[in-house]
């Protein structure tokens, strides 16, 4: 039963698997990118839930603080700000590639792309 208590991790694992499965199983390149996005979001949730301290508040020292307050850990959030930017950049590069692939091949289905690549080489 202990394993069920950490439900946030179950959520993260589930999302990661959904993302990874989409990347592997879908032929449509945009769907692959969406899968990749879900995969990255799972990791972001993992970090954010890691930073939560039970009973902790936002890590801003209020006036008249006596040192007994409990704060959540802000560092994972800051790290994830960077990871989100990385994710956005990856998505932008990926979509730009998809647009150019569509222009060059006239399709964004992976099996069709492979067929054309084989026929071309």
């Amino acid at each position: 039963m202990e394993a069920l208590g950490i439900w946030n991790y179950w959520g993260v694992v589930l999302l990661m698997m959904i993302g990874l499965y989409t990347v592997i199983a879908r032929d449509h390149l945009v769907k692959k990118l969406i899968g990749l996005g879900i995969f990255q979001v799972a990791v972001i949730l993992f970090y954010v839930s890691m930073g939560k301290v039970t009973g902790g508040t936002a890590p801003i020292i209020p006036e008249g603080a006596d040192g007994s307050e409990v704060y959540s850990n802000p560092l994972p959030h800051v790290l994830m700000l960077t990871a989100i930017v990385v994710g956005v950049a990856t998505l932008a590069v990926g979509l730009a590639l998809v647009i150019r692939i569509r222009e060059a091949y006239g399709t964004v289905e992976e099996d069709e792309l492979q067929r054309q690549n084989r026929a071309g080489s």
């Binding site: 990749l36 990791v43 590639l97 150019r100």
Partner: protein, 489 residues
């Protein structure tokens, strides 16, 4: 200023990239890129010299002391890697073939050079930083710029190759991020040295084990360890030839450094090899890579793809050095980083020269070119001999250390396998020699201008020089190996 060198070597290319967008004219941007690469090489050499005389250099970013702040930490291994990366950059960037076989629209060349500089900055950042999360950020900077560079290849297959690399690379990078998260969760620190201090008492934890596994898999995808190498042949084949030269010679080397750093500095050889027996997993994969890569190279009809498969085999040799976890073995692996960077960089540049003249990179394209383009073809031959490991070339030195390392560990079968797989390299190199010197010329071409063959020969010539004069390469590598193993000289 001089104490800031370890930060400036990363900051300079990072800030030089936006300057490219302001300069805009291709000729000025080219000159600027080359100047930046040379400046980085000078800094790297100064840093290497300083590390060898004065020991580890640390730099606290923003004045925040580690482990709270981000620390840049250079020891013998980082400094050695910095020299490899900047040396390759300072030869490839100014070369005359840098724009060969790209599909850049008119007036967009400055963006290409900006991406090259960003890639350089990312590689130098991974190498210098002592902070795990900072490593992830620089890994992504490198990867994103290399996806862009690869997609600029002439054929449309470059696009699909870049897309598959993007998918694999992002999964690899995200795995690294998950691993870093696990380590942070247990230890509460991201600084590699601090981690090394805190980990030993926590090594039994299952979270740490999972984190280690994620880091290894993520790093192995980036390094293209067999069987995670699928992205590499297509990416190297369809990228512009100069980009292949730069990335093949530097990106895998830096990923190798990252794996070595995680294994030896963060977790420690005792845990990884004595407790987890990782070498029983990595060694068969390395040997499989040596044979599968070399065998696949034999059957390729495209020069760049042939070199890419040979890279997979060479990555196998380096990983083998990692598995030995002894001073000789690691020295062999690290010196092979240097030598392989030289020969693969030189060979890809030579192929770029061929593409420049014939417009094709197929093996048939060099048919009979031995007379028409003697300098380029001689470079291919010498580079090929070095890939085989013929005495007198740099490739011999690294294989020698690897074989000795295997014998020291009592792995006699492994040392025989190293020699056997080198014999396969003879086959594919001989094919090139035969086509180039005994084939019938298909193209009426002349030798490339000196701006193209000179950079090729600087790298190929260096493999000859460092095949005989080994003080610098082997000396630096063994110092790096000692730093990794924590042996004080």
């Amino acid at each position: 200023m001089s104490e800031h060198l370890s930060a400036l070597i990363v900051v300079l290319p990072l800030l030089a990239a936006p300057v490219c967008l302001l300069l805009r004219q291709t000729r000025m941007v080219r000159a600027w890129t080359s100047i930046v690469a040379w400046a980085c090489l000078c800094m790297a050499l100064t840093l290497l010299e300083r590390v060898h005389t004065g020991g580890v250099i640390t730099y606290a970013m923003g004045g925040w002391d580690p482990p709270l702040g981000i620390e840049y930490r250079l020891d013998a291994l980082n400094a050695y890697l910095l020299v490899i990366v900047t040396a390759i950059a300072s030869v490839v960037f100014p070369s005359g073939v840098i724009l060969t076989d790209t599909s850049l629209p008119e007036g967009k060349a400055h963006l290409y050079f900006a991406a090259l500089l960003l890639c350089l900055a990312g590689l130098l950042g991974i190498t210098s930083t002592g902070d795990l999360f900072n490593v992830f950020v620089f890994v992504e900077i490198t990867s994103l710029s290399s996806y862009t560079l690869i997609s600029l290849g002439k054929n449309r297959q470059a696009l699909t190759a870049a897309f598959s690399y993007l998918v694999m690379g992002t999964i690899g990078g995200t795995f690294l991020l998950v691993g870093i998260g696990f380590l942070y969760q247990v230890t509460g620190t991201l600084n590699m040295n601090d981690l090394a201090l805190r980990l030993p008492e926590l090594l039994g934890s299952r979270t740490i084990l999972a984190g280690f596994a994620f880091l290894m898999v993520g790093g192995s995808i980036k390094l293209a360890v067999f069987p995670l190498h699928q992205w590499l042949p297509n990416a190297y084949t369809h990228a512009p030839a100069a980009v292949s030269a730069f990335i093949a010679a530097t990106a895998t080397k830096v990923s190798y450094y990252l794996l070595a750093r995680i294994i030896f500095t963060v977790f420690g050889a005792a845990f990884v090899f004595d407790a987890l027996h990782l070498h029983w997993l990595l060694m068969p994969l390395a040997i499989a890579a040596m044979f599968a890569g070399s065998l696949a190279a034999v059957f390729q009809t495209d020069l760049k793809r042939l070199l890419a498969y040979s890279s997979i085999a060479q990555i196998g040799y380096m990983t083998l050095g990692l598995c030995m976890a002894s001073e000789t073995g690691l020295t062999g692996g690290i010196v092979h980083l240097f030598n392989h960077a030289l020969m693969k960089g030189g060979l890809f540049l030579a192929v770029a020269c061929v593409v420049m003249r014939t417009g094709s990179s197929s093996v048939n394209a060099i048919s009979g070119l031995g007379r028409k383009m003697p300098l380029t073809m001689a470079a291919i031959v010498v580079g090929g001999l070095s890939l085989i490991g013929v005495p007198g070339t740099a490739g011999f030195i690294s294989k020698w250390y690897l074989v000795v390392g295997a014998l020291e560990r009592g792995w006699y079968a492994v040392s025989v396998l190293i020699l056997l797989s080198s014999l396969i390299a003879v086959v594919y190199v001989w094919r090139l020699v035969e086509t180039a010197f005994f084939g019938v010329p298909e193209h009426e071409v002349c030798e490339v201008p000196w701006t193209s063959w000179l950079p090729t020969w600087i790298l190929i010539g260096a493999t000859l020089v460092f095949g005989i004069w080994t003080d610098v390469t082997v000396g630096g590598a063994s110092a790096a190996a000692r730093a990794l193993l924590g042996v004080t000289p």
